[in-house]
């Protein structure tokens, strides 16, 4: 079956420092990976969609300069939160699609960012 491993599960970082999270697809080819953030208010926000052989598309309020994403192959993606501050805290989730026309996202377990 399709599995997505995401790590680290939890990071505590000092304000102004950065956190990198990784997403590994097992058992399928992740043709596209969507990165979400669940805020403390529970809202799921789409940060960006990364599709192999296409430019990464960032949603409004999210930029490559703040959330650089790498998607070098069909099994791996990473995202960094640069210069993290209190408003960046939350649960970051990667969801991978196995086909370009598929609708199902297979999620990792999330990386929780705590900023102190």
């Amino acid at each position: 079956g399709a599995l997505v491993y995401q790590y680290p599960r939890r990071t505590i970082c000092k304000s102004g420092t950065s956190m990198r999270m990784e997403c590994q697809a097992v058992g399928f080819q992740a043709t596209s990976v969507a990165w979400y953030r669940q805020s403390p208010q529970k809202t799921f926000e789409l940060i960006a969609l990364s599709t192999v052989n296409s430019a990464i598309k960032y949603e409004q309020n999210f930029t490559q300069e703040k959330f650089p994403i790498s998607h070098p192959n069909l099994s791996f993606s990473s995202m960094t939160v640069l210069n993290a501050y209190l408003e960046d805290r939350g649960l970051y989730l990667c969801g991978a699609r196995d086909t370009p026309s598929g609708n199902t996202l297979y999620f990792g377990e999330g990386s929780r960012l705590i900023v102190v």
Partner: protein, 114 residues
Amino acid sequence: GQQVKQSSPSLTVQEGGISILNCDYENDMFDYFAWYKKYPDNSPTLLISVRSNVDKREDGRLTVFLNKSGKHFSLHITASQPEDTAVYLCAAGEGGGSNYKLTFGKGTLLTVTP
């Protein structure tokens, strides 16, 4: 504003009863509608989904109803069990290929009491 809304943050149902979870949306371009289940500290997992050309889909104890004119879809869980206790996220999708986008609601915590 929020494009996908779950107005009830929580719902409690007695074991054996029917759980009805609701979701409203605003975007006419959505053509895919899904329900995900999330346990604490676990990843959201797809439960059931429909495309916009279908107004109902059943899978075991689960049924999705889609009302396109009302921009509303719901999940019915029959014979609810304590193991069904979890957060249920509705999601709506639009676009395709590299333009595909899945938008989630905030979730409804379903508690099934013995």
